[in-house]
């Protein structure tokens, strides 16, 4: 196989690895951010209710 053609396959494979990991980290970052907001909001709500009780 010519070097240029092989290089395209190699670039595609490593590019795919990079793309999948970047996408995974982006999605994971969003998941963590959403959970943090929800936990903080519920924690504050609970703090407000407890003194009332």
């Amino acid at each position: 196989m010519p070097l240029a053609e092989a290089a395209r396959y190699v670039a595609a494979a490593y590019g795919a690895v990079l793309l999948v990991f970047v996408a995974y980290l982006a999605v994971t970052g969003r998941r963590i951010g959403r959970l943090r907001r929800d936990v903080r909001a519920l924690g504050e709500e609970l703090s407000r209710r407890e003194p009332e009780a």
Binding site: Y9, V10, A13, V17, I32, R36, G43, S47
Partner: protein, 244 residues
């Protein structure tokens, strides 16, 4: 990121879910260094393959370690499932979920890099040979793990069914791993066999650096996923308390 899991819960600061983010970051950084080293040795030090694979063989330095790491992840899920079934501790259920999720992530990468390499090396995108077929079966089985979890409402039953499923699904993992050894008519070579690797020492070095890097990446991401699962648990607890 996981640091944020140490959060306010009912007026008290809970550090239950904090998983030493500095350690996770250090592990991920070390993984990055090892993976960069694997590529540097693989591309600049190791010789270009003299067989028909030629330059396309360079895909190997990530493809094989990713495959081994995917199987490792399923192994962790198996151990977590057995421990959950024996002890009933929800932590093992969370470990199983995190391990299967990462196993599927690495499996996706194996399939993608595999079909690209298959096209370059064999001239076809896909071949129904033992290693590819058993790996595809593993991917489908472990995808079913999440379908099962989504179908069961009760937490305890969901964890038990998922653990049983993970134990059964694991049967495919050793078959996948040993497929190239027991079924030599397949297209995949044996990377590390009883008679050694058959690789050039520089190739082997790049492979081992890639393997160590991917394994550490898995460990780092597993810690991150466990942090997420712990946050989810904390959220469930808060909701429960708010609902009285």
């Amino acid at each position: 990121m996981v640091e944020s899991a140490a959060t306010v819960a009912g007026g008290r600061v809970s550090d239950r879910t904090a998983l030493a983010p500095a350690t996770t970051t250090a592990i991920l950084a070390l993984a990055g260094v090892l993976l960069a080293a694997a590529l540097a040795v693989g591309f600049w030090v190791a010789p270009t393959d003299a067989s028909t694979l030629g330059f396309s063989q360079k895909i190997f330095y990530f493809h094989a370690p990713i495959a081994e790491t995917a199987l490792l992840a399923y192994g962790v899920a198996f151990v977590a499932a057995v421990l959950y079934l024996r002890r009933g501790d929800a932590r093992y259920d969370r470990l199983g979920v995190a391990a299967v999720r990462l196993g599927l992530l690495f499996s996706l990468l194996v399939m993608v890099t595999g079909v690209i390499w298959g096209r370059a090396a064999w001239g076809v995108w896909w071949a129904w040979e033992p290693r590819l077929t058993t790996f595809l079966i593993a991917c489908l089985l472990y995808s079913g793990y999440f379908v099962l979890r989504g179908a069961v409402e009760d937490e305890s039953r969901r964890a038990t069914y998922a653990a049983l499923f993970a134990v059964i699904a694991f049967v495919d993992v050793p078959i996948t791993f040993f497929a190239t050894r027991f079924l030599p008519e397949g297209l995949h070579p044996v990377v590390l066999g009883p008679s050694g690797s058959g690789m050039d020492a520089r190739d082997l070095l790049a492979f081992l650096a890639g393997l160590a890097g991917m394994t550490l990446l898995f460990v780092g991401l597993l810690r991150l996923e466990l942090g997420i699962e712990a946050l989810r648990e904390e959220l469930r607890e808060l909701k429960y308390r708010l609902e009285g």
